[in-house]
């Protein structure tokens, strides 16, 4: 996170090139006052800065402030739990209020027409991938497909009937994988698991699964 302090890109940009309210006046000795300040805090004062009275005064100010600033930075105020609770309740209210018909998947239910929100369905499929060793799901997009597409045939061994299934979906999922896993093997496994989850957990025939490995991660 600390990218500015003491790096070449963090110094020498003040000077006199900016508007008047951005200018850093040099010290009487000509040194950049902000540079001297940074050097004092970092303990990297050069011989001039250690001897020059102007630089020494600036460094004394820097060190005098630095101690109490560190004490303030060490404080860890925490928000009360009610803040996050309130946020998440408002988010849930928003999600419920703004659910659109196109966000719902039609399900083949023996009790009659049923619908499931796509985010909920995606969550089920992601959970399946998350449960696999070395794999984590990222994006999961579920789209209904017209009957007859892909031959109207689900990928798995479920109950879909060729050409007569209005409930089929396609799944496009992106995953991240632990460094070193056999990608060909695990993506085949992801496909199996997604198809099985679609049929077992959702009751939705999965006609195609598009998998992209978008990142690798290593165990900490």
């Amino acid at each position: 996170m600390e990218v500015g302090r003491g790096t070449p890109g963090a110094t020498g940009t003040g000077g006199t090139s900016g508007p008047a309210d951005e200018r850093i006046e040099p010290l009487a000795c000509g040194r950049d006052a902000a540079d001297v300040w940074d050097h004092a805090v970092e303990g990297t004062l050069d011989p001039h800065e250690r001897e020059c009275p102007h630089c020494r005064a600036a460094a004394a100010d820097a060190l005098g402030l630095d101690g109490v600033v560190h004490r303030m930075a060490a404080e860890r105020p925490v928000p009360p739990p009610s803040v996050l609770d309130g946020v998440m309740q408002a988010v849930l209210d928003t999600v419920t209020a703004e659910l659109r018909p196109q966000d719902l998947l039609a399900l083949d239910s023996p009790a009659g027409p049923a619908r499931l929100s796509r985010p909920a369905a995606a969550r089920v499929l992601r959970h399946v991938v998350d449960g696999m060793d070395g794999m984590r799901a990222r994006s999961c997009r579920i789209e209904p497909v017209a009957a007859g597409a892909n031959g109207g045939r689900p990928l798995g061994n479920g109950s879909g009937t060729a050409g007569a299934d209005p409930f089929g979906v396609t799944v496009a999922i992106t995953v991240t994988a632990r460094f070193g896993v056999d990608l060909a093997s695990v993506t085949a496994r992801v496909r199996q698991m997604v198809v099985a989850a679609g049929e077992q957990a959702l009751g939705v025939p999965v006609r195609s699964v598009d998998i992209a490995v978008v990142d690798l991660w290593d165990e900490p």
Binding site: D21, V68, V69, R71, P77, V83, V87, R138, T176, R191
Partner: protein
């Protein structure tokens, strides 16, 4: 690597795990994954993002607005803003940078509105019970017994808002000039100048405590 959905013969179908993990799986996910999931409507992913970063965002808000009640409001409104605007976050910067920017803007708006009706001196102190012990063995209610800290807290409130924002992000949150420039919508040169003027002003106040 991308694989397309050619049919594969699978027999028997693998069993689908049923019971959720006792520890939410989201805890193990990186911010990028959580952002993608949240953008697709996964409320739990957003909840984890908010849980993970709320303390840092609250610290920033508290140090910018100077009191707990306003900081809590600013945090709550900022997190809701983040949820509503997630589809506009493209991941060019870190989620934290983006969230810091939302909080900073909301706090600066609040300060502008407040300035019309309330003087800076009326702002209440940070409630000591909201301050977790900074380290083992630290005196209880350190803010109350540390006069220098109280003086710095008071001096911070006297800074112009843009200087205070840059100073807090740099000196208290430890961010670099480039990231602060992105958060505040300013140039790095302007950020550097504001931080330096803030340091000088605060150092002037703190000389009497040396």
């Amino acid at each position: 690597m991308r694989t397309r959905g050619a049919r594969e013969d699978v027999c028997p179908p693998p069993a689908v795990p049923a019971a959720p993990d006792p520890v939410p799986v989201e805890r193990a996910l990186d911010d990028t994954t959580l952002v993608v999931r949240a953008r697709e409507g996964d409320v739990r992913a957003f909840s984890e993002l908010a849980r993970r970063h709320q303390a840092a965002l609250y610290r920033l808000a508290l140090r910018l607005v100077g009191n707990a009640a306003d900081a809590e409001d600013a945090l709550q409104e900022s997190l809701l803003d983040a949820w509503r605007r997630l589809d506009r976050f493209r991941g060019d910067s870190a989620f934290t940078t983006w969230a810091y920017r939302i909080v900073t803007n909301r706090c600066l708006d609040l300060l502008r509105r407040r300035r019309a009706t309330v003087s800076v001196e009326q702002v209440e102190e940070v409630a000591p019970e909201r301050l977790a012990a900074p380290e083992a063995g630290a005196p209880e209610h350190a803010a109350e017994v540390d006069a220098g800290l109280a003086a710095l807290r008071a001096a911070l409130r006297t800074l112009p808002d843009d200087q205070r924002a840059c100073f807090v992000l740099r000196e208290l949150e430890g961010l670099g000039y480039a990231e602060i420039a992105e958060i505040t919508g300013s140039s790095e040169t302007a950020v550097r100048g504001r931080i330096h003027r803030a340091r000088r002003a605060l150092a002037g106040v703190m000389r009497s405590w040396r």
